[in-house]
Amino acid sequence: MKKKSRRATSSNAFLVAVSAVFLGLIGGAVLMALIGSNPFTGFYYLFRGGLMNIERVGNTLATATTLMLVGLSVAFAFKTGLFNIGASGQMLIGGLCATLVAHKVFLPRPLFLVVLIASALIGGALWGVIPGFLKARFNVHEVVATIMMNWIAYWSIYYFVPAYLKGPSLETESASIAVSQSLRAPWLTKLFNGSYINYGFFIAIAAVIIIRFILDKTTLGFGLKAVGSNRFCAEYAGIKVNRNVIISMMIAGSLAGLAGLSFYTGYSRNMQIGVLPAQGFDGIAVALLGASNPLGVLFSSLFFGVLQSGKGFMNAMTSVPPEIADSIIAVIIYFTATSVLFQRFWDRITRYRRSRHPEQSEEE
């Protein structure tokens, strides 16, 4: 009986996500029609741009990698009732640590990769644990604290990169990381025909599995979720709420740090100053669309990956200007972010059907 009701809610979350995406696409279509473009050709090229050939599939996966990790980070914090808006800053610090390692540490490749991953993990965790501690100890709201941490990271990069990682001529970005010191793998690049896909993708998949395991199968996960559902109840039940808040933010931060790793040492291979990575905020939409479920995050990040990497090709093939393409994506994100509305809608339909078939609901 218990199992059945759980399945009902998860299919509900799935329906919510699908209807959000669907309405988002319709919203985008309306926008395209309004500027006089054919929405069908627009979407056709949008999806072709993301999936047309093996290289583009690779690029889509590379784009999705960062979103997946940030989405996981935000989703994980959500589970403990925390809103991690600081994924951008955690990405920056994780990326900075990884870039430092990539430039300064020379080890055999497998060992090097371990150190590289660990450095980003620690950097992100540090940037997550500070707001977690402030929340637990002084009850500083994590939204305020993480936003502030974003700007501290932003300006730290502004100082660090030109001072210690500067390239041969440009003041505003770090020197490019050699492929052998990056997350890219020649065999992967070759397999995907010169795409940007890198080991980050496997890290992200592993993270999905690990986070799912932590949340569903461990006492820690149970405690975190209990705090998220009702922190007073959890406290009454003897769960250490403050400890769980700190741990949750630490894990969320380290996931965002890994996102920084995949972006700065896998995708772009350098860091630019004066840029707060937009992925940190897109990840919120990814988590919302994925219903804060690790598997949901996996699929929603792939969807956003297709949109973002297909956008340019749509611009090139149609008369949709780049600025409008961004708006269309924003419309889709907007609808997915308001997925709560769809949840109500589907709940109401379910309730309506139950009232019409009372024997069915009794069965449940």
Partner: protein, 360 residues
């Protein structure tokens, strides 16, 4: 479960409609030249690099009935640039123009990846990320400008207009293109002092680089402190930082102060227009970006694309100069500048592209 199936069916029908509907536009005419452009940092209407290049492309598209398109990358990394170049190439564009030295490393890879596509890079030439290898293939043209000559003419014009005054310079990043503007500007002022009886002062403290091309606030602050120190004219070769300089000058001019700005790259006169219709842009040190993109397209159409070479545009081939219309300059001044321009062409005046004996 039933509703799930219904939802999936609707989705399937929709996707098939999407994919079926699209194929019509895919068959584009391939025989003609199709010109694409990838924008650098900033927007297409940045009154500077992107806009200047795009205007040339638009002019060519009108004159030769070409299919043109610009794409705006998500960021300014090499991966972002390569992605948009790939999008243009996959969409059938066979000539891609890239404004800005930041495309150098992206084109270093793109020139091999797309050997059948013609590339033009403005303000740079392809090289590897660590600057160890410089290589330009037959399908690429690099274009450089003699910024020092442009700066020279602007400095000369301003010094002739004012005779007495205190001039300053604000640069963006300290890169060769900006440095050459600075050095040429100083030489122009010195030339006017030496040969035309002008007495313009320039000080080291009023000559600096902000360090970015987009910090509008910093540009405004630096300009404010320079104007406070008694500077009358600021030459701003600084992209977005220059926008801040122009804003500060507008504020002060609106309050009745006599301050001026010299624009850069394109004719920025319209940028400095105040509510009373007057502009605080004295003149602009121009690089004719639009001419470069236009000429490259014309050359390609005539089968004379100078692939594999690096072009240096200067006064001798009308690549640099000050605007044709300068409402804030006297006729005698523009005449004198025209004479100097002719002497630059003939080689009677030489402007050094180094900072020897000048403020850095």
């Amino acid at each position: 479960m039933k509703k799930l199936i219904v939802a999936l069916c609707i989705l399937a029908v929709l996707t098939s409609a999407v994919f079926a509907g699209g194929t019509a536009e895919g068959a584009a005419k391939k025989s003609n030249l199709r010109v694409g452009m990838v924008t650098d940092a900033g927007t297409i209407d940045d009154k500077s690099f992107n806009q200047g290049t795009w205007e040339g492309i638009l002019r060519a598209s009108k004159d030769f009935a070409l299919d043109v398109k610009y794409l705006k990358p998500a960021g300014t990394t090499e991966a972002d640039y390569l992605k948009e170049i790939g999008n243009l190439v996959d969409a059938g564009y066979n000539m891609v123009i890239c404004p800005g030295f930041k495309f150098e490393t992206a084109l270093f890879e793109a020139q091999d990846k797309y050997p059948n596509v013609k590339f033009v890079i403005l303000d740079g030439e392809p090289h590897s990320a660590d600057y160890s290898v410089f290589r330009i293939e037959k399908n690429v043209v690099g274009v450089y400008w003699a910024e020092h000559e442009s700066g020279f003419l602007a400095g000369l014009a301003a010094a002739l207009q004012f005779k007495n005054g205190n001039f300053g310079f604000i640069g963006g990043m300290e890169i060769p293109a900006v440095q050459k503007f600075n050095w040429g500007f100083q030489q122009g002022v010195k030339y006017a002092n030496a040969n035309h009886g002008a007495n313009v002062v320039m000080k080291q403290e009023n000559n600096l680089y902000q360090g970015t091309f987009d910090d509008i606030g910093a540009g405004q602050q630096i300009a404010a402190s320079m104007y406070d120190r008694g500077v009358d004219v600021i030459f701003a070769a600084a992209g977005g930082v220059g926008v801040g300089v122009i804003n500060e000058a507008k504020n002060r001019a609106a309050a009745g102060k006599k301050v001026w700005v010299i624009g850069v790259d394109v004719d920025q006169y319209s940028e400095g227009v105040m509510p009373n219709g007057k502009s605080i842009i004295l003149t602009s040190a121009m690089k004719y970006l639009d001419r470069a993109s236009y000429d490259m397209i014309e050359n390609e159409l005539n089968g004379r694309f100078p692939g594999g070479t690096v072009l240096h545009l200067d006064a001798t081939n009308d690549g640099v100069g000050i605007p044709v219309e300068n409402p804030n300059l006297d006729k005698s001044v523009t005449d004198e500048v025209a004479r100097a321009y002719a002497m630059l062409k003939s080689g009677a005046i030489k402007v050094a592209d180094t900072g020897d004996g000048l403020f850095k």
